[in-house]
Subunit: 140 residues, 2 copies
Amino acid sequence: MKLNTKSRYAVMALADIARFDGKKPVSLRDISLRQSISLLYLEQIFLRLKKNNIVKSIRGTNGGYIISKNINELKISDIFYALDEKVKTVGCKKESKKGCNGKSSKCITHNLWDELDLHINSFFENKKLGDLVKKKESRN
Amino acid sequence: MKLNTKSRYAVMALADIARFDGKKPVSLRDISLRQSISLLYLEQIFLRLKKNNIVKSIRGTNGGYIISKNINELKISDIFYALDEKVKTVGCKKESKKGCNGKSSKCITHNLWDELDLHINSFFENKKLGDLVKKKESRN
DNA sequence: TATATACCCGACTAAAATAGTCAAGATTGC
DNA sequence: GCAATCTTGACTATTTTAGTCGGGTATATA
């Protein structure tokens, strides 16, 4: 059970930007260097962040990305959603062919997986990007 | 972010056995039929459950598996542990080469992943196999 | 004691997902 | 105009997953 790097890098990169919040656009090149993430990979990630209105882009020299909304309102779950990172423990819903088909009594564990999904998702719903930056600063 | 089938099937299979708790060994063949899981795959799974003392085996005709301890004390996390299913959101610890190396200030999000691991693990620590069977029965 | 039923176990493999890279742009600031 | 920066789709190597295969061993019971 693990998070993919796309989602992880996205949060790392956005947290990086958040430290310069509002001041000026941050280029992927800078993020790439500071966070040790491949520039080409970051481009791919930010393409999707942009499409989902998590960030705005500014082209040209001294361009870069800025975060669209207040970092204290940007949920971590929003970021994951943009990257198609879904918590999907269950096969039941999609793989209706085998095992659980809703009414059947086969899938004894159905509720467990549902609860788990809910549990994890609520964690990300309640975490804001701003929380990360604050924590970081208080540690320094 | 998803659970692998080995862990999921393991919980399903054990919940299946738990319904006959204590009475007699349950064969993999029966579980395979009831839960629609490949018999060969189940064998692989139970090999590891046995090695980790989650189940005991009884060989020969009318043999099968029984659950080693009280199902109300068997944590779901014990089952996952037996199958090497680990919650590992973070690359930091293992991939010390890049990014977070403990003292560095690079890995802003380190705490977040740690918290997430804890959050998920505590969910499984608090769930017992017995909970699943009880729920199932109360639904019938 | 033969035989069917069941567990035992390492090795193998096809398919899918992951984690990127590549190539060829389009804008904009200086 | 040229360098920095974003834009975008396609491609690919590697790893992981989700199993299968083949050949065992143990034991109940007829």
